[in-house]
Amino acid sequence: MSTTKEKYKKVAYYPGCALEGTGHSYNRSTKAVGKALGLDLVEVKNWNCCGAMEVKNIDPKIQTYLSSRVMSTAANEMDMDVVMAPCNGCYHNLKKAEYDLKNDEESVEVVDRLSKKAGHKTYEAGQVETIHALDWIKDSIGEEGLKARVKNSLEGIKVANYYGCMYTRPRHIFPEKDQGPGSESTSKPHFMDDLLAAAGAENVDFPLKTACCGGAHTLSDSDMSTKLVLNILRAAKMSGAEVIATECPTCHSGLEMHQIRAEKNFGEKVDIKILYFTQLLGIALGLKQKKVGVHENVSD
């Protein structure tokens, strides 16, 4: 049986819609970091939307089906046993679908019916393991492996690690978390802190690391989103951070765009850079800023 470390060296890569749009630099930097670390990403063939928030809000079982199709393709058409999703929304939805298919007969029935209608094999719970980009690097390379590969230490850079809301919530869909030493925590996540510390960064004590960024309401209630983001930016700044590291494309674009909106609409400028953790790791691994898409960020 292969170890987790070996298993994660070649994974099915599910970028999701955001990484082909507003989160393009996350896509670019994830691929670049994977290559630099000798990790193999095989993109899921003909992947579809995970159901995101919009579909889930209208009919959660259609979201379960859409996410299951991605996992079915990886398992049944690509013979992969691990799917890596760097987007928090996709990661959350695939984990939720996995949970539903393990625990809810009605979900199993609906997914089977829609899969047959669509003409592909029905995904069965347990066929693949869904992981986040943080798990992927943390468990395949680890802090020591990363330290050995750092060419350009992040020493002197003060970072607030912002995980957002979907990486740890709700707890029950992440059975591998909160399992003691070495596992990720849902109340105080630390995988991003661990990786960036290994790359030399100084992590600040940031109290809003899993707080809501208002991403779901960025269009329907923009002022509320701006106020939530402004609060996060202020807290990061007050904690001593120069950079906020993110691992969610929705949070990332929200923090960037509402930083500008806060200045325009509320007259408050909080000058703080927002970078994907993969961009910071890429720089630490000696990759050029352009290679990890720093120029695509608004706050670069």
Binding site: M53, K56, N57, I58, D59, P60, K61, I62, Y65, E106, V110, L114, C165, M166, R169, P170, S187, K188, P207, L208, K209, T210, A211, C212, A216, H217, S220, D221, M224, K227, L228, N231, I232, R234, A235, M238, S239
Partner: protein, 146 residues
């Protein structure tokens, strides 16, 4: 219980010299925010405490049922943590910063809960739009429970 509009001013009040009193105000205002949510859901706010905090008991009460505000677990705990930090070491050299951070964390709790109550109503909460889910009938949905 103060109105939501009155509560917002508490979070925006500049810190005074009496740090313990400010921390107390922020904690009480955070509790009232959670009480608003619980009342809007048709329940009576608990007067119990958990780990010495009414705030944490209110949070626990609010996580039961649907819609819940379980997503505020860490924020509520950070408010309690900063309250302890401020009141147990009022003379700390970093006290102003600690108090301001408590204010920001408390305000986040307020924005997250009160904002949704004001703008979208109780059911339209965070990423789970319950009213839409329970009123629409799509191909996969089963007959609704009475």
């Amino acid at each position: 219980m103060r109105t939501l509009a009155e509560l917002e001013t508490v979070f925006d009040t500049p810190p005074s010299d009496d740090v313990a009193a400010v921390a107390e105000d922020l904690l009480r205002a955070s509790e009232e925010v959670l009480e608003h949510w619980i009342v809007a859901r048709g329940d009576t706010p608990t007067q119990d405490t958990r780990e010495g905090f009414l705030l944490l008991a209110l949070h626990r009460q609010g996580t039961k049922g649907d819609p819940s505000f379980n997503a505020c677990r860490e924020t509520a705990r950070e408010v309690a943590y900063h309250y302890n930090l401020v009141t147990m070491q009022p003379g700390h050299s970093d006290i102003t910063n600690r108090l301001q951070l408590m204010g920001l964390v408390s305000k986040h709790l307020y924005l997250f809960i009160a904002g949704k109550l004001q703008v979208a109503g109780l059911g339209e909460f965070c990423c789970s739009s319950k009213p839409i889910r329970t009123t629409q009938d799509y191909e996969t949905t089963t007959p609704k429970e009475a």
